[in-house]
Symmetry: C2
Subunit: 353 residues, 2 copies
C-alpha cells in the first residue's frame, strides 16, 4: 500500500460521539415531538458525529463524477456504444445532463474527473484530468488493470477530494460515468459479498433479457479466469473493476479522512464503497446512502454496508443524480438542528407525561 | 352545496393529456436512458398534465398550514396540552418551527391560517384569519361542528388558495397544526375507507399504549354516536372532523380548479384529501403524496387515494414538513424536463438496439 493511501486510512477516526450526543440532545429540545422528524433527526446527529461539530453546516457542496471506459464492452454487455462515455462528459461540461440540472437545483458544484476515458479532451476548467489509461482491459480476457493502476486510481481519488476540500467543502456526493460499468460493479459485488453473479447483475442502461444472460456469463467467466481475492480489495479492483470505481473509492476514503459526509449515489458508487470499506471498514460511518437504485444488486450492497437509503425513486442513471437529491435532504436535516427554536425559547409547552 | 364549492368542483377538469404526452416525448429524447430518472420522469409528466404546460415551471411555491383546535382533547387523546396549537402558530409566525426551516430551505413562502384556534391572535402579515369557532365541539359528545361550519371551512380553504393564486403560485403544499387532530383524522379515515378504527389509529405526537387504547375507544364511540354518512363527505367532516381538515380539503379543491399540483403532507392532510376526493373524485389526479408518515393509518389513506408517496423518512410532524421536502423533488423533476439537452442537441449516440 502506498504512503498516501495508508496515511489516509490511518487518519480516518471514528465519528465524534460527544458532538453527536450534543446534537441529539438539541434535537430533543426543539419544538416538535421527539423523533417526529424521523430520519432527518438521525441524519443531523450523524453529520454532527462525522464533522465533530454540534451544529454542522452544509453550505459548500460538490458532486464528484468520475468517468472511465471499460474494455469489457467488447463482449456486448452494454446497451450503449462506448463513445457515449466521452459524449456524456462533454454534456456534463456544457451543463446539459441530468446531474447538471440537479446540482444547480441543490446549489452544488460539479467536479468531472477523467480517470480513464477512451478519448482525449481539451483542457476545460471543470474537467480534472487524472487519466490512468484510455479504458480498462477486457476483464473477460484477463485483469482489467494492473495492481499499480488500481492503486493509482484510488490515490487519484484521494488527491481529487483533497484538492476540493482545500477549496472549501462541507459535503460531497460521488457519482460515475462509464458505459459498461454496471458489469465490473456486479463483478465486485459478487466477489466481495459472495452473492451469486445472477443475483447481483441487472439490466444497466437497459439491455435485453438475452444480453442480461450474456452479461451474467461474462461476469462469471471473468471471475473464474481472474480469481480476485475477496480479502484484498485492490486485487478485486484490479482484476474486475474500473478506473472510475477505484477513483470513487479514493474520494470516499479521502472525504472520511477529512471528516466530510459522503453521499453515495447508486450501484457503481456502491461498488466503490465496497472497495473503500474493505480497505477501511471504519469508512462506513461516514457514508450516507442516497437512494436505492432500480439496478438489481444495489440493495445487496447497501445491506452489506449496513446502510439504509434515503430515497427510493426508481432511479438508475448514475452521474451522482441520486446523491444530489439526497444532499438536499441532508442539508435540510442539518438546518433543522441550527434553525429551529427550543421549547424553552419559544414558550411552547412540553409533553404532558 | 354552496355556490363557491359547486363552482370550484365544476371547474376541476381532467389533466391535459396532450401536454402530458408532449412532456413524456421530451423525457424520452433527453440525454439519459429512457426511464432512468424513475419517478422524476413520472412527476414531470404528471405536472405537465396538471398544469396543461408541456414545460411547466415551479418557481413560486407556498406551504399553506391550516390550524384549528379540537374539543375531543378533553377526552385525554393527545400527548400535548391544547394550548400548544396557539403556541406553535406563534412559533410559525416567528420562524422557529420545523416548517419554517424547511420552507426556507426550498424557497417556499408560508401561509398560516387560523381556521379555529382556541385563542385570539393579534393581526400579523403572515397570519390569515378565517376562524370559524375557537375549536370544535367534543365529538365524543356530539357532532364536532354544524354542517354550515363544515361547509364554511371548505369554502374558506378555497378562498385562501384563490387569494394565494392571484399572488402568483406554481405549486402548493398543504399542512396542518392542531393538537388532537390525529383523532378526527383517524375517525374520517375509518368512516370513509371502512377500515376498523383500531387499524387506522396511531400514537400521534406520542401517546402511551394505554392512551392509544383510550383513543381508539373514543373514536369508536364518536362514530357510533354521530353516525357519519360515508357517502356524504360534509356530513363526515361535520360530525367527526376538524376546521383545519375542512380548510385543507378546500385548499386541495381550489388548487385543482386552478390547475395547480397539490403536495399533501401526512396523515391529517391525507384525511383532508379523503374529504376532497369524496366531494370530487377527479381531484386525485392533482395530488402528489409527499411521504408516508410514521402514523398508522396513513398508508391506508394513500392506498385509498391510489397515491404512491415520494418519501419514507419516518416523519410524523405535520405542519407541511413532508410536503416541503417533496416539493423540492417535484421542482427537481420539472427542471430536468426543461434543463436537460436532447440526444440530438448534445450529439450523444442513442441506444444500440
Amino acid at each position: 500500500m502506498s504512503e498516501i493511501l495508508s496515511n489516509t486510512i490511518g487518519t480516518i477516526k471514528p465519528p465524534d460521539k460527544e458532538a453527536a450526543a450534543k446534537a441529539q440532545a438539541r434535537q430533543d429540545q426543539l419544538t416538535k415531538p421527539r423523533g417526529s422528524l424521523g430520519r432527518l433527526e438521525e441524519l443531523s446527529v450523524k453529520v454532527a458525529g462525522i464533522t465533530g461539530k454540534e451544529l454542522p453546516r452544509i453550505e459548500r457542496k460538490a458532486i464528484v463524477i468520475i468517468a472511465g471506459d471499460h474494455g469489457v464492452v467488447a463482449e456486448g454487455v452494454s446497451a450503449y456504444p462506448r463513445e457515449v462515455t466521452a459524449q456524456m462528459v462533454h454534456n456534463f461540461l456544457r451543463g446539459g445532463a441530468a446531474i447538471n440540472v440537479l446540482a444547480r437545483h441543490i446549489g452544488a458544484r460539479i467536479v468531472v474527473v477523467d480517470m480513464g476515458i477512451a478519448a482525449e479532451f481539451e483542457p476545460h476548467p471543470s474537467l480534472v484530468s487524472r487519466k490512468i489509461a484510455p479504458g480498462t482491459h477486457n476483464m473477460a480476457k484477463g485483469p482489467a488493470m494492473s495492481k499499480e493502476q488500481a492503486l493509482r486510481a484510488v490515490e487519484s481519488g484521494i488527491e481529487v477530494i483533497n484538492g476540493e476540500v482545500s477549496g472549501g467543502l462541507d459535503i460531497v456526493g460521488v457519482g460515475d460515468m462509464g458505459i459498461g460499468n454496471t458489469t465490473p460493479s456486479s463483478a465486485i459485488c459478487a466477489a466481495i459479498t459472495g452473492e451469486p453473479v445472477g443475483r447481483v447483475t441487472g439490466k444497466g442502461t437497459g439491455v435485453s433479457d438475452e444480453q442480461l444472460a450474456l452479461k451474467v456469463k461474462v461476469i462469471e467467466a471473468a471471475l473464474a479466469l481472474n480469481r480476485p481475492d475477496p480479502e484484498d480489495a485492490i486485487d478485486v479492483l484490479s482484476k474486475v473493476g474500473g478506473f472510475e470505481i477505484g477513483g470513487i473509492a479514493g474520494v470516499i476514503l479521502g472525504a472520511a479522512a477529512r471528516r466530510l459526509p459522503v453521499v453515495i449515489d447508486g450501484f457503481i458508487a456502491g461498488a466503490a464503497a465496497l472497495i473503500a470499506s474493505e480497505l477501511c471498514p471504519r469508512v462506513k460511518d461516514y457514508l450516507i446512502a442516497a437512494h436505492v437504485s432500480a439496478e438489481v444488486g444495489h440493495q445487496t450492497i447497501l445491506d452489506y454496508l449496513g446502510l439504509r437509503p434515503l430515497l427510493d425513486l426508481g432511479m438508475r442513471l448514475g452521474e451522482g443524480t441520486g446523491a444530489a437529491l439526497a444532499i438536499s435532504i441532508v442539508e435540510a436535516a442539518v438546518k433543522t438542528l441550527a434553525g429551529m427554536t427550543t421549547f424553552a425559547d419559544a414558550g411552547v409547552s412540553e409533553k404532558l407525561n
